[in-house]
Symmetry: D3
């Protein structure tokens, strides 16, 4: 992928006008308030594995609408608590995978809560186990990008972001977890979700947001042909008259608007050759983040930019966050 | 596409053992009975267009679960009734499109009822307008093939086939339509739906089933990489332990099992180079059809086999059906 | 297809200098005059189909050089005449297809004359039936874009545009057709042909020009890799020294030069993500059209932009044209 | 390309029944006789180049119908004559290229006559300079495979094979060329042409037939998706009712039928992974060749099998042929 | 990927004749003996990370020819030793990655030694850090498959397998590691290496061999076009006369021949749709393995078959191995 | 390939700042001096072919480090000497091919020395026969671009350029060759090598540099995704921290820096649609060349731009060079 987006110097200063609905805060406030009326209903089931230095629980909690959301909770044994905790969200189409996929943060002394993304989870590497018991009132494209797009109230990510927000509440409620040292994390879709949660709450010890998806939709759909953003373009190519409503809905979910509210310490990453989450969309959000922040720029990477190398940055960030708390 | 499936001579005799659930008939009987308890609730709204030789109505009826299903009803003006009627189902991801896309059967003297496929309808050429207000209890792949696959009761196509079955009831109930001359029709997914309805009811004047999808799933997923069958393979590549349940569910929806019950006159088509709906899957069903039947074999065609050339065969079949009734 | 061409605001004002041969008018005047010396030699054969609300004729007329050009004439029955008539031209590699593919305009009360494009017509969906009895004096690429490119007199489209021009004469000559209400129409190559005829004659009730091909060749070959424009690039990559002659020939056939002469009411369409007929080439022509005009801009569409949605615009345009005459 | 065709042991014995028209010999006899009534009309123009050890002429002769066919004649200087001569035909879409591309056979002491393939010649590497002044009476696909396919009399390759046959007459007529030592040669389409000429004449010193195209059409179109054979499949996918006529025509041009008549020494090559000219089609012809023969089997090669390595085999074959005469 | 290889029932019985060099054992005996003359020269450097429940060392040892080979050694803290140890080899083009990528086996109570593959290691996810200070005496293709292919002594994998064999010696020599409980492991190329080491030594507690590469070369190169096997085909397409020598060399490195010598407990995995390491090549080896064995068959998976799901099988196998010792 | 680089007017003036190491001249001076201490050790073996107007020798000489480098020497017979000589370098992955591939320059009266590129040579069309007996000290990507990239001393092209430089010394040393009329030549990688040699020596009669590779690396890796430049991007995507060193090394091998030193007459070619060696990288070097120069601009060509058409330009250039000397 040749460099197809803005040059790095421009990216560093990039602050486009992204439409923000007048009632953006109200929308999320009432969404979360409504959700908050339900009990978290956390069910923790010890899950036997062949792992010995960690303790695994199958965790189910009541997400948006009280729907059961599955997660793994993996905690290091023999580390003195209360433990700091990473709450992680997953990339598009994946799920919480298996407990043995989540041993790195525990090895760093952190509890690790990995939440399923409702309805998703067919992925080879990250199968999930959580349904999304909501249908749609109108036509959709394949995939999740266009589920309920006709209306912010019914848009798929309203449910997902609410689940994600509550997953932090869950973490805070757990015995042996230090509620003051919760860090949200994720890459791609998971990064978009972490960014949303990071923007919505000020009570986190940090947010690790890698190559975030769900950010500056209006630009993304015009500068890349890559999926999943392309699901929106395909939808509009057939549902040609829904354009205004589609973008009016998306504005409530745009990562730029969440980032503009972010006050906790943030660690971002971006790949300058990333055509799935183009760098200008990432910087549009990053440059708005209000809290302490840094961004790792991977000049020669596509979407894998936020991968195993960045994991080293995570550990450093977590070490600071663990201390800082 | 080179010839990748069985040679034609073998296809003509191809009668593989396709598993049939012991309670297949019971399943569908109770499904339809339950649906039948609800009123069809047909709402016909005259729809103004610039067309003058046809009369167009926006038709909404209560499908599975009473959900509103949209359709177009296009009737020729000045043709003496009661009119015979084609009830058409749509290919994967498409919808009912626009009234002006449905003038051919009316030009042949038939009323034309084109039903949306719930939830689908982003397609460029065939946008739809009907949602599917059901979610899932487990993880899914993108697309509709894996929605509710964990269980025949909740599988997506249970709702669709029920809608389709009721669309025939709707047609029969309409003033000016001859209830004894209803023909179901469709290509690809639409062909699979027409085949299911054709197998479930003996009160039709015919079924036109082009390059049907949703037929012999167990073989299809092993001989082609093409979508949408591939959605199932992808799902199983991640949800590796669900294989038995997946196929146990699909057996309730397999076109071969519907075809084995088909008694009305049928017109099939097949493309010998069709990798989306491979010819052996089509013949596996066709060879089981019990009613009067014929199949148009297009040796040099892929999935487009059931296209504009086949439309000529349709008109001939309809002319016979119109007389025959 | 990400947005790869100029932004919409610039497209709306885009008026590039496209070279126009000094003898452009003379070339076409003499071409048509020479053709006009031959009788149209219209042969109308009633064609039996299973359609009942329309009357179908197989129509053959003498095109360029007196060569037999095939067409379908489909007329609504029971609509009081004389009838207005759409003369339609076909997209690249297709042909007149089958009569049952042409029932929409008749359903709107219009006669529909669909002309084969000589030599073309292998297409799955639109088979044709007309040869092109001319060879070439020099080497060519596969396809029609480079047939006779060495010289405007022998260029393939000189014959095609002449056929198309005469098809209007044919329509005007038919009994029961209102010669004052002829509208030319087409998409892609058909749009390019309709644009040429629309520019060459002032006696039409309108021109419906969808995503036109054959327009601003000099730019098209540098901003897209898509076929058929790419046929010219491939040709020049081997016939490297013919560049000047190639473009000198193409200037006589450039849609921009035809559009600059267009005085009848025109309806255009354009897809902003269309890489086959890039939007700047379409606007380069549209912005020059002198007659009353409007353009439907489909922001999320590629070349399918001029498809089934646009058909609704056609019907509205025709309704106006029918009245206006 | 994995091995997709028959295994080598079976290929060595492969002798399928390929339909041969009853009047095959008569067809070619009368075709050549009719052509033979015209003078060869050889025009040799010295062509100045910067080459010093060879002498180059631009050669034009009257091919089928008397049409001017261009060729290069490249002769070694300082080699005592009369010279043996290779008459070479060119691969699909290419032409005679430039004189400096033809110095190898002259370096081996042979004159080299390279004939344009009429109408073709856009290729990057092998531009041509000869038109084909014949059109068609019916629809065609892009490319040359379907030009005049409706009828053996008008099929494109009737003209090409006649040109090629006459090119040998031309070579034999040239001063300084030994008429008893003419070898025809070519790869791919050129191989198909050399095979046809080799089958039609017994007065050659040999035929070098590399990875021949135009051979066993009926099988080729079912076992590979590759072009140019695919042009026929595409054509039939739209012109579905022409199948019988198409193959009836092709039988007159099938390399297997020519090979069955071949009596001169032949050198073949084949690539076992060649999907453009699949090995079974090559062996179907080779196994029928009646003259002395050998075949170089390149097990790991696709269509490039007949390339630069095979050139070494050519030189050995020519050395024998030169002596043998 | 449709099922393109043998059906599962046949795979279970598949025991093809794979050529084995007469001096296979001698070749490896002398290779290892020669290598064994050098000291292992293990250098362990504590490597600081932000991980707290594991201890990380940068490990360098003298591999083939005494060349420095890098590895990570990751050990669980607080687990009573001596520890069992997994020695892992890496997939094609990857390297040892980062310490934080190797926390799963330590979480299961195992030490984990991850060896670089010399010369490789550009991979996004698994960068390495070890060169291969050997050149070639003949031409090569890109990649490692053809490095030194002219001769078993100089073939690249002679060096790699020797490194891998010695890595086990290294593990056994480490303080705190139980020399009787070493398991070798790897997927793809890593699986091929583990299989070679597993076949060469009887002193292991087990071998975990996922979707092994480097196995039944002679068949692999004919049934798949996928890389890296394709590197060999490409090489032979140009170096056409080296075929015999190439395969004579590869026989010394063929996984089937190593498997035939395997006596330790083995856990295999295979994906039935794996076109990179086709299932018949895997079963050809697996069916020869002499020790206790089991294979996980993933019917719906391609090369990812040996991935995260299989990791669960690993943990079970390791738990048994840990006890068994 | 649409025009993706700068427009031609800008290319003609394009003179970017390309970093030049301070010790660039010193680096090459010492490299060549060190190499020069070894004897050329030319071994000429008459090579029998079936060619009669040329004389072929298999030539081996001591290249960098004294390694044996193979070449063909093809000389015209019967041309009065001493002969001028073209020294040709080969494109990426190819080798010296076969003697019969090198008859054109001899036909023009020139001796032709074609040098293998060490280690390369798997290519279908241009097999080679020379190894590269050097390994690496660090990880690499597949291919040659990243071999030894950690350090200018060990970079692969240091060896290749030295070989190439010495090949000229070899040519000059040969009996019957005129040491004052040596022209270096090559396309793509061969063009990059010829450019380097042309920049390093003032004693040539000319340099023919077609579509040169290895030129302006820093830009090339950001404007094209094509290989081989992409090998560097891939490498950096995994070896993310080596960026500075990588480019610091490449600066010693950048064609722009060699061109800036070029004083002999040069003939360049460039394809304006060349995505493998983008036109701006070619002009960046060409515009710096200090000697007499011209460039053939092929506007409609990709990387094949420097092909058979350009060969005609070569012959003209050589004719001048032959005289000029």
């Amino acid at each position: 992928m040749a460099l197809f987006d803005l040059p790095l110097e421009q990216l560093r200063e990039y602050r486009p006008d992204v439409p923000e609905p007048a009632d953006f805060d109200e929308f999320w406030k009432s969404t979360l308030a409504e959700a908050g009326e339900r009990d978290l209903d956390v069910r923790l089931t010890p899950h036997e594995t062949d792992l010995v230095t960690v303790e695994v629980h199958d965790l189910v909690f009541a997400g948006f609408g009280g729907d059961p959301i599955k997660a793994w909770l993996v905690k290091p044994k023999g580390v003195e608590g209360p433990l700091p905790c990473v709450v992680e969200y997953i990339g598009y189409s994946g799920g919480r995978s298996f407990p043995w996929a989540h041993t790195t943060y525990p090895a760093a002394g952190w509890a690790h809560l990995v939440m399923d993304t409702r309805g998703q989870g067919y992925g080879n590497w990250q199968p999930g186990d959580t349904g999304d018991p909501y249908g749609t009132t109108g036509p959709t494209n394949k995939g999740w990008m266009t589920q309920g797009l006709e209306d912010p109230e019914h848009y798929y990510y309203r449910r997902v972001f609410t689940d994600a927000h509550r997953a932090v509440d869950v973490a805070k409620s757990l015995e042996g977890i230090d509620p003051d040292r919760i860090v949200v994390a994720g890459g791609s879709q998971g990064g978009g979700i972490a960014q949303a949660v990071g923007g919505l709450r000020g009570d986190l010890a940090g947010a690790m947001i890698d190559v975030p998806f769900l950010t500056y939709f209006r630009r993304a759909v015009t500068i890349t042909d890559a999926f999943p953003y392309q699901e929106i373009v395909e939808f509009l190519s057939g549902q040609r008259l829904r354009e205004d409503r589609v973008f009016a809905t998306l504005d409530y979910f745009d990562g730029v608007n969440f980032a503009a509210r972010g006050t906790v310490p943030a660690l971002y990453s971006v790949g300058l050759m990333d055509d799935i989450c183009p760098p200008s969309t990432v910087f549009a959000a990053y440059n708005r983040w209000q809290g302490e922040k840094r961004i790792t720029v991977w000049p020669w990477n596509k979407h894998e930019g936020g991968g195993i190398h960045q994991r080293g940055e995570h550990l450093r960030f977590l070490a600071e966050a663990a201390k800082g708390a």
